[in-house]
Protein backbone atom coordinates (compact mmCIF):
# COMPACT_ATOMS: atom_id res chain seq x y z
CA UNK A 1 0.00 0.00 0.00
CA UNK A 2 2.72 2.47 1.06
CA UNK A 3 4.63 2.15 -2.20
CA UNK A 4 1.62 3.51 -4.07
CA UNK A 5 1.02 6.30 -1.56
CA UNK A 6 4.56 7.67 -1.59
CA UNK A 7 4.39 9.02 -5.18
CA UNK A 8 0.98 10.50 -4.35
CA UNK A 9 2.39 12.33 -1.32
CA UNK A 10 5.40 13.49 -3.32
CA UNK A 11 3.07 14.83 -5.99
CA UNK A 12 0.90 16.58 -3.42
CA UNK A 13 3.92 18.33 -1.89
CA UNK A 14 5.04 19.47 -5.35
CA UNK A 15 1.51 20.63 -6.19
CA UNK A 16 1.34 22.59 -2.93
CA UNK A 17 4.56 24.42 -3.83
CA UNK A 18 3.28 25.21 -7.31
CA UNK A 19 -0.06 26.39 -5.89
CA UNK A 20 1.68 28.82 -3.56
CA UNK A 21 3.83 29.92 -6.48
CA UNK A 22 0.71 30.84 -8.43
CA UNK A 23 -0.36 33.32 -5.78
CA UNK A 24 3.01 35.10 -5.68
CA UNK A 25 3.64 38.14 -7.81
CA UNK A 26 7.05 38.06 -9.49
CA UNK A 27 6.77 41.80 -10.17
CA UNK A 28 6.91 42.51 -6.44
CA UNK A 29 10.63 42.45 -5.83
CA UNK A 30 11.26 43.07 -2.13
CA UNK A 31 13.40 46.15 -1.72
CA UNK A 32 16.70 45.80 0.12
CA UNK A 33 16.25 49.44 1.22
CA UNK A 34 13.56 48.67 3.80
CA UNK A 35 14.85 49.64 7.26
CA UNK A 36 17.83 51.38 5.68
CA UNK A 37 18.42 55.13 5.57
CA UNK A 38 16.60 56.77 2.68
CA UNK A 39 19.06 57.84 -0.01
CA UNK A 40 19.91 61.50 0.31
CA UNK A 41 18.93 63.82 -2.52
CA UNK A 42 18.81 67.47 -3.43
CA UNK A 43 16.34 68.19 -6.17
CA UNK A 44 14.69 71.20 -7.73
CA UNK A 45 11.04 71.90 -7.15
CA UNK A 46 8.62 71.25 -9.96
CA UNK A 47 6.64 74.47 -9.65
CA UNK A 48 9.50 76.74 -8.64
CA UNK A 49 12.55 75.31 -10.39
CA UNK A 50 14.93 77.71 -8.65
CA UNK A 51 14.10 76.20 -5.26
CA UNK A 52 15.90 73.10 -4.00
CA UNK A 53 14.58 70.51 -1.62
CA UNK A 54 16.93 68.28 0.33
CA UNK A 55 15.73 64.96 1.75
CA UNK A 56 17.29 65.89 5.11
CA UNK A 57 14.79 68.75 5.41
CA UNK A 58 12.22 66.13 6.37
CA UNK A 59 14.15 64.68 9.30
CA UNK A 60 11.95 64.69 12.38
CA UNK A 61 8.71 63.93 10.58
CA UNK A 62 7.09 60.91 9.03
CA UNK A 63 6.57 61.47 5.31
CA UNK A 64 5.68 59.71 2.12
CA UNK A 65 7.60 59.88 -1.12
CA UNK A 66 5.45 59.09 -4.13
CA UNK A 67 7.22 58.43 -7.42
CA UNK A 68 4.98 59.41 -10.30
CA UNK A 69 4.97 60.64 -13.90
CA UNK A 70 2.41 62.11 -16.25
CA UNK A 71 3.13 59.31 -18.74
CA UNK A 72 2.28 56.70 -16.13
CA UNK A 73 -1.22 55.32 -16.52
CA UNK A 74 -1.36 53.50 -13.18
CA UNK A 75 -0.56 56.80 -11.45
CA UNK A 76 -3.98 58.05 -12.49
CA UNK A 77 -5.56 55.13 -10.64
CA UNK A 78 -3.94 55.86 -7.34
CA UNK A 79 -4.08 59.63 -7.62
CA UNK A 80 -7.58 60.24 -6.14
CA UNK A 81 -6.52 58.22 -3.10
CA UNK A 82 -3.40 60.31 -2.64
CA UNK A 83 -5.44 63.50 -2.90
CA UNK A 84 -7.80 62.14 -0.26
CA UNK A 85 -4.93 61.11 1.99
CA UNK A 86 -3.30 64.52 1.64
CA UNK A 87 -6.60 66.25 2.49
CA UNK A 88 -6.96 64.10 5.60
CA UNK A 89 -3.74 65.65 6.89
CA UNK A 90 -2.47 62.33 8.25
CA UNK A 91 0.87 62.51 6.49
CA UNK A 92 2.65 64.90 4.13
CA UNK A 93 3.19 63.43 0.68
CA UNK A 94 6.14 64.52 -1.42
CA UNK A 95 5.98 63.85 -5.13
CA UNK A 96 9.01 62.73 -7.06
CA UNK A 97 8.26 63.57 -10.67
CA UNK A 98 10.19 60.82 -12.42
CA UNK A 99 11.64 61.31 -15.93
CA UNK A 100 8.92 63.65 -17.05
CA UNK A 101 8.35 66.93 -18.87
CA UNK A 102 7.94 69.86 -16.52
CA UNK A 103 5.03 71.46 -18.36
CA UNK A 104 3.06 68.24 -18.88
CA UNK A 105 3.64 67.28 -15.28
CA UNK A 106 2.25 70.62 -14.07
CA UNK A 107 -0.75 70.33 -16.37
CA UNK A 108 -1.36 66.81 -15.09
CA UNK A 109 -1.40 68.02 -11.48
CA UNK A 110 -3.73 70.85 -12.37
CA UNK A 111 -6.12 68.42 -14.00
CA UNK A 112 -6.12 65.58 -11.45
CA UNK A 113 -5.37 67.54 -8.29
CA UNK A 114 -2.14 68.16 -6.43
CA UNK A 115 -1.72 66.13 -3.23
CA UNK A 116 1.95 66.97 -2.82
CA UNK A 117 3.40 69.19 -0.13
CA UNK A 118 6.30 69.71 -2.51
CA UNK A 119 6.86 68.24 -5.95
CA UNK A 120 10.45 67.64 -6.93
CA UNK A 121 11.92 66.75 -10.29
CA UNK A 122 14.07 63.73 -11.08
CA UNK A 123 14.70 64.48 -14.73
CA UNK A 124 17.22 61.77 -15.57
CA UNK A 125 16.03 59.15 -13.08
CA UNK A 126 19.24 59.24 -11.03
CA UNK A 127 17.48 59.56 -7.69
CA UNK A 128 15.08 56.89 -8.91
CA UNK A 129 18.00 54.48 -9.25
CA UNK A 130 19.17 55.37 -5.73
CA UNK A 131 15.73 54.49 -4.39
CA UNK A 132 15.60 51.27 -6.41
CA UNK A 133 12.70 52.47 -8.52
CA UNK A 134 12.00 50.09 -11.39
CA UNK A 135 8.44 51.00 -12.18
CA UNK A 136 6.10 53.88 -11.61
CA UNK A 137 4.22 54.44 -9.33
CA UNK A 138 6.13 53.48 -6.23
CA UNK A 139 5.61 54.95 -2.79
CA UNK A 140 7.93 55.03 0.20
CA UNK A 141 7.10 55.62 3.86
CA UNK A 142 10.03 57.30 5.61
CA UNK A 143 10.21 57.74 9.38
CA UNK A 144 11.45 60.59 11.58
CA UNK A 145 15.04 59.37 11.49
CA UNK A 146 15.00 59.20 7.71
CA UNK A 147 14.72 55.42 7.55
CA UNK A 148 12.61 53.80 4.81
CA UNK A 149 9.94 51.73 6.56
CA UNK A 150 7.74 50.64 3.70
CA UNK A 151 7.71 50.50 -0.06
CA UNK A 152 4.51 50.20 -2.02
CA UNK A 153 5.27 48.79 -5.47
CA UNK A 154 2.62 49.76 -7.96
CA UNK A 155 -0.41 51.93 -7.26
CA UNK A 156 -1.51 52.64 -3.70
CA UNK A 157 -4.83 50.87 -3.06
CA UNK A 158 -7.54 51.38 -0.45
CA UNK A 159 -6.64 47.99 0.95
CA UNK A 160 -2.94 48.79 1.23
CA UNK A 161 -3.71 52.15 2.85
CA UNK A 162 -6.10 50.75 5.43
CA UNK A 163 -4.25 47.57 6.30
CA UNK A 164 -0.61 48.59 6.03
CA UNK A 165 0.30 52.15 5.24
CA UNK A 166 -1.89 54.23 7.57
CA UNK A 167 -1.44 51.97 10.64
CA UNK A 168 2.31 52.02 10.00
CA UNK A 169 2.37 55.82 9.69
CA UNK A 170 0.37 56.28 12.91
CA UNK A 171 2.76 53.90 14.66
CA UNK A 172 5.82 55.71 13.35
CA UNK A 173 4.44 59.10 14.34
CA UNK A 174 4.28 57.93 17.96
CA UNK A 175 8.01 57.24 17.95
CA UNK A 176 10.33 59.97 19.11
Amino acid sequence: MMRYLIPLFAFMILAAFLLVGLTLNPRQVPSPLIDKPAPVFQLNHLHEPEKVMASQDNLGKVWMLNVWASWCVACRDEHPLLVQLANSGIVPIYGLNYKDERTTAMQWLKRYGDPYTISIVDQDGKVGIDYGVYGVPETYVIDKKGIIRHKQIGPVTVDALQKTIIPLILELQKQV
Binding site: P26, R27, V29, P30, S31, P32, L33, K99, D124, G125, K126, G128, I129, D130, Y131, G132, Y134, G135
Partner: protein
Amino acid sequence: MKTLYMFKNYHHYDWISLRQMNKAKALILIYLLCLCIMPSIALSKEAVPVAEDPEVEKRMLALTMDLRCLVCQNESIADSRADFSNDIRREIRQQIKANKNDQEIIQFLVDRYGDFVLYNPPVKPTTVFLWFGPLALFIIGLGALVVYLRRRRVQIKEVTLSEAELKKVESLLNENKGKNV
Protein backbone atom coordinates in the same frame (compact mmCIF):
# COMPACT_ATOMS: atom_id res chain seq x y z
CA MET B 1 12.89 34.10 -63.79
CA LYS B 2 13.44 30.38 -63.71
CA THR B 3 12.90 30.18 -59.98
CA LEU B 4 9.70 32.11 -60.33
CA TYR B 5 8.43 29.75 -63.00
CA MET B 6 9.20 26.73 -60.88
CA PHE B 7 7.68 28.34 -57.86
CA LYS B 8 4.46 28.81 -59.76
CA ASN B 9 4.28 25.11 -60.47
CA TYR B 10 5.51 24.06 -57.10
CA HIS B 11 2.33 22.42 -55.94
CA HIS B 12 1.77 20.46 -59.17
CA TYR B 13 3.69 17.36 -58.24
CA ASP B 14 2.93 15.66 -61.53
CA TRP B 15 4.45 18.41 -63.64
CA ILE B 16 7.92 18.32 -62.27
CA SER B 17 9.94 15.46 -60.88
CA LEU B 18 11.08 15.29 -57.29
CA ARG B 19 14.61 16.14 -58.34
CA GLN B 20 13.50 19.28 -60.06
CA MET B 21 11.49 20.15 -57.02
CA ASN B 22 14.51 19.92 -54.76
CA LYS B 23 16.39 22.07 -57.21
CA ALA B 24 13.59 24.59 -57.14
CA LYS B 25 13.55 24.55 -53.38
CA ALA B 26 17.28 25.18 -53.27
CA LEU B 27 16.99 28.05 -55.72
CA ILE B 28 14.18 29.65 -53.77
CA LEU B 29 16.19 29.28 -50.59
CA ILE B 30 19.22 30.93 -52.14
CA TYR B 31 17.04 33.70 -53.51
CA LEU B 32 15.47 34.31 -50.09
CA LEU B 33 18.85 34.21 -48.37
CA CYS B 34 20.12 36.85 -50.76
CA LEU B 35 17.09 38.98 -49.94
CA CYS B 36 17.84 38.62 -46.24
CA ILE B 37 21.51 39.36 -46.43
CA MET B 38 21.43 42.28 -48.85
CA PRO B 39 19.80 44.88 -46.60
CA SER B 40 22.08 43.97 -43.69
CA ILE B 41 25.10 44.48 -45.91
CA ALA B 42 23.76 47.85 -46.90
CA LEU B 43 22.99 48.77 -43.30
CA SER B 44 26.27 47.61 -41.81
CA LYS B 45 28.06 50.37 -43.69
CA GLU B 46 25.96 53.01 -42.00
CA ALA B 47 26.15 51.59 -38.46
CA VAL B 48 27.61 54.02 -35.98
CA PRO B 49 29.55 53.02 -32.89
CA VAL B 50 27.28 52.65 -29.85
CA ALA B 51 29.51 54.55 -27.49
CA GLU B 52 32.49 56.77 -27.86
CA ASP B 53 34.64 54.35 -25.87
CA PRO B 54 34.50 50.69 -27.05
CA GLU B 55 36.50 49.60 -23.99
CA VAL B 56 33.85 50.96 -21.61
CA GLU B 57 31.10 49.47 -23.77
CA LYS B 58 32.74 46.05 -23.66
CA ARG B 59 33.00 46.07 -19.87
CA MET B 60 29.47 47.39 -19.51
CA LEU B 61 28.12 44.61 -21.74
CA ALA B 62 30.05 41.93 -19.88
CA LEU B 63 28.61 43.21 -16.60
CA THR B 64 25.01 43.65 -17.74
CA MET B 65 24.93 40.20 -19.35
CA ASP B 66 24.55 38.70 -15.85
CA LEU B 67 22.12 41.30 -14.53
CA ARG B 68 18.37 40.97 -14.66
CA CYS B 69 16.17 43.71 -16.06
CA LEU B 70 13.53 44.22 -13.37
CA VAL B 71 10.91 45.40 -15.84
CA CYS B 72 11.19 42.56 -18.35
CA GLN B 73 12.36 39.92 -15.95
CA ASN B 74 13.47 37.27 -18.38
CA GLU B 75 15.86 39.55 -20.17
CA SER B 76 19.28 40.65 -19.11
CA ILE B 77 20.02 44.35 -18.85
CA ALA B 78 22.41 43.90 -21.78
CA ASP B 79 19.60 42.55 -24.01
CA SER B 80 16.69 44.64 -22.83
CA ARG B 81 15.49 47.77 -24.60
CA ALA B 82 13.39 48.84 -21.63
CA ASP B 83 13.85 52.36 -20.33
CA PHE B 84 14.94 50.93 -17.02
CA SER B 85 17.79 49.02 -18.68
CA ASN B 86 18.82 52.10 -20.63
CA ASP B 87 19.17 54.00 -17.37
CA ILE B 88 21.13 51.22 -15.68
CA ARG B 89 23.45 50.90 -18.68
CA ARG B 90 24.05 54.64 -18.59
CA GLU B 91 24.70 54.49 -14.85
CA ILE B 92 27.19 51.63 -15.29
CA ARG B 93 29.00 53.47 -18.10
CA GLN B 94 29.38 56.49 -15.83
CA GLN B 95 30.68 54.35 -12.99
CA ILE B 96 33.18 52.60 -15.25
CA LYS B 97 34.43 56.00 -16.37
CA ALA B 98 34.70 56.95 -12.69
CA ASN B 99 37.13 54.03 -12.29
CA LYS B 100 34.87 51.83 -10.19
CA ASN B 101 35.67 48.13 -10.32
CA ASP B 102 33.13 45.46 -11.28
CA GLN B 103 32.62 44.43 -7.67
CA GLU B 104 31.70 47.96 -6.64
CA ILE B 105 29.31 48.43 -9.54
CA ILE B 106 27.48 45.17 -8.83
CA GLN B 107 27.32 46.01 -5.13
CA PHE B 108 25.84 49.41 -6.07
CA LEU B 109 23.00 47.68 -7.91
CA VAL B 110 22.46 44.96 -5.30
CA ASP B 111 22.17 47.65 -2.60
CA ARG B 112 19.33 49.22 -4.55
CA TYR B 113 17.54 46.33 -6.21
CA GLY B 114 18.51 43.32 -4.10
CA ASP B 115 19.94 39.96 -5.13
CA PHE B 116 17.09 39.61 -7.60
CA VAL B 117 19.04 41.76 -10.03
CA LEU B 118 21.72 39.05 -10.21
CA TYR B 119 21.25 36.10 -12.53
CA ASN B 120 23.97 34.42 -10.51
CA PRO B 121 22.72 34.62 -6.92
CA PRO B 122 25.20 34.39 -4.02
CA VAL B 123 25.25 31.39 -1.67
CA LYS B 124 23.25 32.48 1.38
CA PRO B 125 21.05 30.71 3.93
CA THR B 126 18.03 31.62 1.78
CA THR B 127 19.58 30.31 -1.43
CA VAL B 128 21.12 27.10 -0.07
CA PHE B 129 18.28 25.00 -1.45
CA LEU B 130 18.60 26.71 -4.80
CA TRP B 131 22.29 25.93 -5.02
CA PHE B 132 22.43 22.47 -3.47
CA GLY B 133 18.84 21.23 -3.87
CA PRO B 134 19.43 19.63 -7.28
CA LEU B 135 22.58 17.88 -5.99
CA ALA B 136 20.69 16.67 -2.90
CA LEU B 137 17.85 15.35 -5.06
CA PHE B 138 20.35 13.62 -7.33
CA ILE B 139 22.05 11.91 -4.37
CA ILE B 140 18.68 10.83 -2.93
CA GLY B 141 17.71 9.42 -6.34
CA LEU B 142 21.03 7.62 -6.69
CA GLY B 143 20.66 6.14 -3.21
CA ALA B 144 17.12 4.96 -3.98
CA LEU B 145 18.34 3.36 -7.20
CA VAL B 146 21.17 1.48 -5.43
CA VAL B 147 18.82 0.24 -2.70
CA TYR B 148 16.31 -0.89 -5.32
CA LEU B 149 18.90 -2.73 -7.42
CA ARG B 150 20.35 -4.50 -4.37
CA ARG B 151 16.93 -5.67 -3.27
CA ARG B 152 16.17 -6.97 -6.73
CA ARG B 153 19.37 -8.91 -6.84
CA VAL B 154 18.31 -10.73 -3.67
CA GLN B 155 14.88 -11.42 -5.13
CA ILE B 156 16.16 -12.88 -8.41
CA LYS B 157 18.09 -15.93 -7.29
CA GLU B 158 20.17 -18.00 -9.67
CA VAL B 159 18.30 -21.25 -10.29
CA THR B 160 20.11 -24.42 -11.25
CA LEU B 161 18.09 -26.87 -13.32
CA SER B 162 18.15 -30.60 -12.92
CA GLU B 163 18.88 -32.94 -15.82
CA ALA B 164 15.18 -33.73 -16.32
CA GLU B 165 14.20 -30.06 -16.31
CA LEU B 166 16.82 -29.24 -18.91
CA LYS B 167 15.43 -31.87 -21.25
CA LYS B 168 11.95 -30.49 -20.79
CA VAL B 169 13.15 -27.01 -21.65
CA GLU B 170 14.85 -28.28 -24.76
CA SER B 171 11.80 -30.11 -25.98
CA LEU B 172 9.63 -27.05 -25.37
CA LEU B 173 12.03 -24.90 -27.32
CA ASN B 174 12.12 -27.38 -30.20
CA GLU B 175 8.36 -27.44 -30.30
CA ASN B 176 8.28 -23.83 -31.37
CA LYS B 177 11.01 -24.21 -33.97
CA GLY B 178 9.75 -24.01 -37.53
CA LYS B 179 6.67 -22.17 -36.42
CA ASN B 180 8.65 -18.97 -36.76
CA VAL B 181 7.37 -17.42 -33.59
